[in-house]
């Protein structure tokens, strides 16, 4: 089995879907000869040609609108945003037009919107955001945020095959930092299911994206404690059952998100637990998040804003002793 980086796995997933389904095509800025800002589509132009690897103009709203039109008429566009922050430029097209289509007209829009998200790269306020909740809150859209190469590949395939619009988030800090063996032709992984990364008895930590890796480091630092770690993988639809099942066993839940505090998925998880597992809770639901500020440029500030391994371990330790 080939060992793939997070980035290679995404690339492979795209490649295999394009080989398998001639209606799948790519749109995005600099994705052609240049292979994309992060090189996810390197070699695609040569293999699939300019008809299926479309170099777009610098006009997000424009090409997203066009992608939706193509999706209505039988194609499956995969749209890359050079940085996921720029998806904001196409907001209306996604939340109003694509997101509500199935409910309004009974017609799904099979478009996948993908791109690099997240902080840690000293990229400043317009190239570092966590945008998952803009779309998780908007009915009709699915939001996926994998943390490992195999999940990235399998979930991307599921997004492309889905008959409704999906937002697929690729944490740019993970692109070249993690590796895993992933089989060629590996299957799609169903959307909407969390994964138990590590079983435990005393505390459940729910997280996703780059924070999964920080959480695992924190858990390793708290050796001897029995902590269950749940990787959401899909932000919406939220796998409520998996969270509830876990808390029935551990009685305590902590969430770790890179996303800012107010309105993050952490609040939704706390609400779900209150509704569906209140009698199983042995302590408050604790949120470890970034504060409600944009991601700053200065390395010192950026590091201060993001939850650190120490922050996570400290909060977990306090909750365990609650």
């Amino acid at each position: 089995m080939p060992e793939l980086t997070f980035l290679d796995a995404i690339s492979r997933g795209l490649w295999e879907e394009m080989e398998a389904d001639p209606t799948v095509f790519l749109m995005g800025e600099d994705i052609g000869a240049y292979g994309g800002a992060f090189k996810v589509t390197k070699g695609f132009l040569e293999k699939f040609g300019p008809g299926r690897v479309i170099e777009t103009t610098l006009s997000e709203e424009g090409f997203v609108g066009a992608a939706i039109g193509a999706a209505y008429t039988g194609l499956r566009p995969v749209v890359e945003f050079q940085f996921i922050d720029f998806i904001a430029c196409a907001f209306d097209m996604i939340v109003n037009v694509a997101g509500t289509s199935r409910y309004r007209w009974g017609k799904g829009v099979p478009v996948t919107f993908r791109g690099p998200w997240g902080a840690g790269g000293r990229a400043g306020p317009f190239h570092s955001r966590s945008i998952e909740m803009w779309f998780a809150h908007s009915p009709g859209l699915k939001v996926v945020a994998p943390a490992t190469p195999s999940d990235a590949k399998g979930l991307l395939k599921a997004c492309i095959r889905d008959n409704d619009p999906c937002i697929f988030l690729e944490h740019k800090h993970l692109y070249r930092r993690i590796k895993e063996e992933v089989a060629d032709g590996s299957p799609a992984i169903p959307l909407g299911r969390a994964r138990v990364v590590r079983p435990g008895e005393d505390l459940t930590i729910v997280t996703y994206g780059m924070m999964l890796h920080r959480t695992m480091e924190a858990v390793a630092a708290l050796e001897g404690r029995s902590i269950e770690v749940l990787d959401l993988r899909t932000i919406y639809p939220l796998d409520r059952a998996a969270v509830v099942e876990s808390v029935k066993k551990t009685g305590k839940v902590m969430t770790v998100t890179e996303d800012t505090r107010t309105g993050s998925i952490a609040g939704e998880i706390a609400a779900v637990l209150c509704e569906e597992a209140f009698e199983h809770l042995d302590g408050p639901v604790v949120r470890v998040t970034s504060p409600d500020v944009p991601i700053p440029f200065a390395p010192t500030l950026e590091d201060a804003v993001l939850p650190s391994v120490k922050d996570i371990a400290g909060a977990a330790d306090r909750l365990l002793r609650y």
Partner: protein
């Protein structure tokens, strides 16, 4: 050149030299790992910022884009505040929170550079609306690249400015590439200046590597705006001779020869030749003494940025700048020697 012309030309030369030297230092700082994140330099395009900003007063405003160091310097942001920003220091013009793409210095009329391509065009139109309503004779300028002219913001902004006859100048720096995508591929109509006609406003194309030509074209556009004649679209045809962003590969989408060809059309070298045609300009020494800034600043390096080396405190408030005590190190901002003279 007569005396007046040559002192004008010297002023433009100095502005360009300041930008060139600063960019070279910043690029070096990036290579040495002192500067993080993206760093889009302005090398090769200096004539545009210098020529346009020379026509602006301190009260006029500029909205810029991701490649904004040159606009910031030309509008009067002290180099030290620019350097400090890229180094992530509290003494930077955005207190280290923004970095290369988010420069802000309203006190000199730099109303912000932006890491998102496009909106500067709309914001300049909005600022021009303020000036029109107040009838205060101020002018707004938007700088943007050829990539931005295929964005909706360009079309919407030009049309609004046209129907409301706003005092704004839209300066397209057509350096022929958006990252690596050639404008000849991305533009249905690659003649940017002619697009002005689509919205009923004058469009002027000018050699963007000839600062004197930019100066003349900008003079007319700014005068038109100031006198109530409405907006102008100014297309400056130019080229960036460094990679899109520091550290990126450069010869996959364009050839070494093409870059060398454009280096030979360096706006500084071209003006230098003109300046020296009649021997050393007579007023060189005098005018140099008058505004000593640029010729000395360029020697600074990222390591030597004065002021506290202390990084910004990890304060995370989103309080607006207005309510924040601004820059205790005021002398930096005020150091007159670094600021180009405002208007002629």
């Amino acid at each position: 050149m007569n005396g007046r012309d040559s002192s004008r030309a010297l002023d433009l030369y100095r502005r360009m030299l300041l930008i060139r030297r600063c960019e070279e230092q910043l690029a070096r700082g990036h290579q040495r790992g002192l500067i993080h994140g993206a760093c889009h330099t302005y090398v090769g395009q200096e004539a545009v910022a210098a020529g346009v900003c020379a026509q602006l007063g301190a009260e006029d405003v500029v909205f810029s884009t991701h490649r904004g160091h040159g606009h910031a310097l030309a509008k009067g942001v002290p180099p030290r505040e620019l350097f400090a920003e890229l180094l992530g220091r509290a003494t930077g013009c955005s207190r280290g929170r923004g970095g290369s793409m988010h420069l802000f210095a309203p006190e000199v009329g730099l109303m912000g550079t932006s890491g998102i391509v496009g909106p500067c065009i709309l914001q300049a139109a909005g600022a021009a609306y303020t000036f029109k309503l107040r009838a205060d004779g101020r002018v707004a300028v938007a700088f943007f690249g050829d990539g931005a002219v295929n964005n909706g913001a360009f079309h919407e902004g030009l049309n609004m400015a046209s129907i409301w006859k706003l005092p704004v100048v839209f300066v397209c720096e057509n350096n022929q590439f958006a990252t690596e995508v050639p404008f000849s591929y991305s533009a249905g109509n690659p003649d940017v200046a002619s697009r002005g006609a689509a919205y009923g406003l004058p469009g002027v194309a000018v050699d963007g590597n000839d600062v004197l030509a930019v100066d003349v074209a900008a003079e007319e556009a700014v005068r038109r705006a100031r006198e109530g004649g409405g907006p102008t679209l100014l297309e400056c045809r130019t080229y960036r001779t460094r990679p899109h962003s520091e550290g990126m590969p450069d010869f996959t989408y364009r050839t070494r020869e093409e870059v060398e060809e454009w280096k030979a059309r360096c706006p500084l070298a071209r003006l230098r030749v003109k300046l020296l045609e009649g021997g050393t300009p007579r007023n060189w020494r005098r005018s140099r003494r008058k505004s000593r800034g640029p010729s000395r600043t360029p020697r600074s390096s990222p390591r030597k940025v004065p002021g506290p080396t202390r990084p910004p405190r990890p304060r995370t408030s989103t309080r607006s700048r207005g309510s924040c005590p601004r820059r205790p190190s005021a002398p930096l901002a005020r150091s007159r020697s670094c600021r180009p003279p405002s208007r002629r």
